[in-house]
Assembly symmetry: C2
Homo-oligomer: 350 residues x 2
């Protein structure tokens, strides 16, 4: 065994493109409804109570780790959590709904300045509890929503397929839109650096709606606040993971962001992702969550394909390309985790 | 003036990559809610009545052509129209809802065989009425939904962001899924060739959910029935347009389909689309419909960018990358059509 391998948890080593004995694996929404123990907790507590009560949020975060030898934990929270203090009447029904969405330049200028330590102290308590509880080998990932994605909800006022109103606001009020995106960047810096100080050992920025923009508009509107956040987080020394969902055509822009890891969905094979990003960036992904419904032999083939596409170079964290579906059989997840570990360990032996 | 230019309507010439005096333009959902005259009709008739009454469907189809010098008309219908005879309890609320979705292999084998001439005769009456009414220079485009897209609705039973249940069916029941996709291909061949015989002068296949699949699964599940349809339509001699929505990563697969035109959304600039498709395929697109909310000078720049990306080679039909939004100002549409015509005509002069 190589000394470099022994020093860091496999997840952190892979983020830094260091060699690992076996490919680390975790799963988007690994703490969630596909687990009977999560559903049992949800019968006793609503979603917001789970999220806002540090002991419960920590318990939910830990549930999948008791079942599967996952290589990372991820904070149980919502991407809209950091704007809870913005007085927009945010609730979950179950998707996010804002009573007072942002519809005009004046709405942007009226937003209060409030630190996340004041508005959502429970997040940092949860992170501290988890950092104390988790073994050294299983780092906690902190996370938040990227500015354009939060912008979509703030302007649209709810979930949407096309976020047409939010995109129209970008074009009709470009200056106000840029101010709002910059405010969201500052909020994310405060929120994510607070998580790192509380014990998160990696930080992930979810840009769930990046794929609604073409490359020109992404470069103009969505990328600048992401770059601001990632640059500000750099001095913290924790790996920065960025997930531009449905962002296959944006990877040329993403490749020049200051970050360690790009997470990708399943729409582009990892060999092509790596070709665009270059050797200096690790990749995270990208099994289609639908593959977890396949018969075992077919699931195995799909897993092996992802590993083969990732190739032998260091810097691959196995994950799904999107959150695990609630109807997924946990037995299939166990099979996936076991196979990723076993096959990738074999792959290193000649 | 060049004789070749004078012979065919610009839309059909561009589909065949013949030179045109100015770039033809039409718009996805050009007959629809952004037009006050459409909303006035909808106040008196529900959506299904509009679609199923040939005089009304023809009237709706013609409305945008009375306002704007568009280069093509498109049949007013729904992508699910051809499966109305399949006894699945289809209704619109306003999105499609199926009372009896397909959930098992046995459901596939129970589907009735019914021709579209029997189940939706009103479609062909509408096409005949329009073919008689439209000027020679404004061809009517017939259309239908691609098999994987219809499959998504048939299995899910309603609209969805991820169509997780439909995708799970692909993986858990691959043989039954392939049978259903093949049945949908046969239905589309019957439906689309019937439209061409009734007077449609081009045919467009909408694959609205193609982008939910990665390239491997697209090649395995979605592409074969599309290829079957396009090959069967070839002998009709009308241009075949295929629209793999959010399909930027699928264009390598699409490039080898038997077709004349690929329609694309705004996520990939047309120069890159053309580079993947090669010189033998015309392209249709790809302004982001959100750009129609921009101030006039900015809208103009966005239009000019699309024209510049399409380049000077023949074979470009200007369009949006997705349906026009209901809140769009018709004045902005007029501006777009005028500018596309004027700028592209200037572009041909040295």
């Amino acid at each position: 065994m190589n000394r470099a391998v022994a020093l860091a948890p496999p997840f952190l080593a892979a983020c830094r493109r260091e060699p690992v004995e076996r490919t680390p694996v975790w799963m988007l929404r690994q703490a969630g409804r596909y687990l009977p123990e999560y559903r049992a907790l949800r019968e006793r507590h609503d979603f917001l109570t789970l999220m806002r009560t540090p002991e419960l949020a920590a318990e939910v975060t830990l549930q999948p780790l008791r079942r599967f030898p996952l290589d990372a934990a991820i904070l149980f929270a919502d991407i809209l959590t950091p704007i809870e203090g913005w007085d927009l009447g945010l609730s979950f029904a179950p998707g996010p709904v804002l009573e007072r969405p942002i519809r005009a330049a004046a709405d942007v200028d009226r937003l209060p300045t409030v630190s996340s330590a004041e508005s959502v102290p429970y997040v940092f308590e949860t992170v501290r509890a988890l950092a104390a509880e988790l073994p050294e080998t299983t780092p906690l990932i902190g996370f938040g929503g990227a500015p354009f994605t939060l912008f979509c909800y703030l302007v649209e006022g709810k979930g949407s397929k096309s976020f047409a109103r939010a995109k129209a606001f970008l074009w009709s009020e470009p200056e106000a839109a840029a101010r709002l995106l910059d405010r969201l960047a500052d909020s994310a810096i405060d929120y994510l650096s607070g998580q790192a100080r509380a014990g998160a050992r990696a930080l992930m920025l979810f840009d769930s709606w990046a794929g609604l923009l073409g490359p020109d508009d992404y470069a103009r509107f969505a990328r600048p606040p992401v770059e601001k956040i990632l640059a500000a987080l750099g001095p913290l020394g924790v790996p920065r993971i960025y997930f531009p969902h449905q962002g296959a055509t944006l990877l040329g822009e993403v490749a020049t962001l200051p970050l360690e890891v790009v997470a990708v969905d399943w729409r582009l094979p990892l060999s092509k992702v790596r070709a665009v990003l270059g050797p200096g960036i690790a990749v995270q992904g990208n099994l289609d969550p639908a593959a977890l419904f396949a018969p075992p032999a077919e699931l195995d083939r799909a897993i092996d394909r992802v590993l083969a596409e990732a190739g032998p170079a260091p810097g691959h964290i196995f994950n799904l390309g999107h959150g695990v579906e609630p109807a997924t059989d946990p037995g299939q997840v166990a099979r996936m985790v076991e196979r990723v570990h076993r096959r990738s360990a074999q792959g290193e032996q000649p």
